[in-house]
């Protein structure tokens, strides 16, 4: 079935260091949409990035990701972590389901940025 794998449960960084959160996916659908959602404490998930174009970099709020269909990956990166980046990050896959598109979430990666 469709699935998303985020290998790191927790990533701890010092402010100013680069961020990379891994995401790989599995689906038989040839044109999936990939998303990164960020969830701050006691809030709902908020869309950070999305892409469906192979090998095209997408950027928002200092974060960027490139969908690579050849490796089924959509890793999230940022050049310099900020304290406010501390949150839960979910990689998600959108594919057609019965009756519409469904979003499948990865297990999430908690990013903790310290001074």
């Amino acid at each position: 079935g469709d699935s998303v794998t985020q290998t790191e449960g927790l990533v701890t960084l010092t402010e100013g260091l680069p961020v990379m959160l891994n995401c790989t996916y599995q689906t038989i659908y040839s044109n999936p949409f990939l998303f990164w959602y960020v969830q701050h404490l006691n809030e709902s998930p908020r869309l950070l990035l999305k892409s469906f174009t192979d090998n095209k970099r997408t950027e928002h709020q200092g974060f960027h990701a490139t969908l690579h269909k050849s490796s089924s990956s959509f890793h999230l990166q940022k050049s310099s972590a900020q304290l406010s980046d501390s949150a839960l990050y979910y990689c998600a896959l959108s594919v057609p389901g019965t009756g519409g598109y469904k979003v499948v979430f990865g297990s999430g990666t908690r990013l903790l940025v310290s001074p």
Partner: protein, 115 residues
């Protein structure tokens, strides 16, 4: 802009009783609505996907008998947790999407505590 309001934000119910949560889309037509549950320390599990004028599709481990959903128009959906028990606690999210949209807009969630 597109917004999704979800209420109540928090609720406590006694074991064996039922509770209903509602989701309202503003600024767009919610052609499809998906309901998710985030159990403690877990990721978001898709409960069901509902598209107006189509049958509601429940994922494995979730049934209409336990989580009946109503999606009567393009701005409203509700879900009831029947006969709630401890394992039903968690954050319930509705995510709505319009026709042709790639982004899913999430409500702020309903946090269910079962006592």
């Amino acid at each position: 802009g597109a917004l999704v309001y979800q209420y109540p934000r928090r609720t406590i119910c006694k074991s064996g009783t039922s509770m209903r949560m509602e989701c309202q889309a503003v600024g767009f037509q919610a052609t499809s609505v998906a309901w998710y549950r985030q159990s403690p320390q877990k990721t978001f599990e898709l409960i069901a996907l509902s598209t107006v004028n189509s049958a509601i599709k429940y994922e494995q481990n979730f049934t209409q008998e336990k989580f009946p959903i109503s999606h009567p128009n393009l701005s409203f959906s509700s879900m009831t947790v029947l006969n709630a028990y401890l394992e039903d606690r968690g954050l319930y999210l509705c995510g709505a999407r319009g026709t042709g949209d790639t982004e899913v807009f999430f409500g702020k969630g309903t946090r269910l505590t079962v006592v």
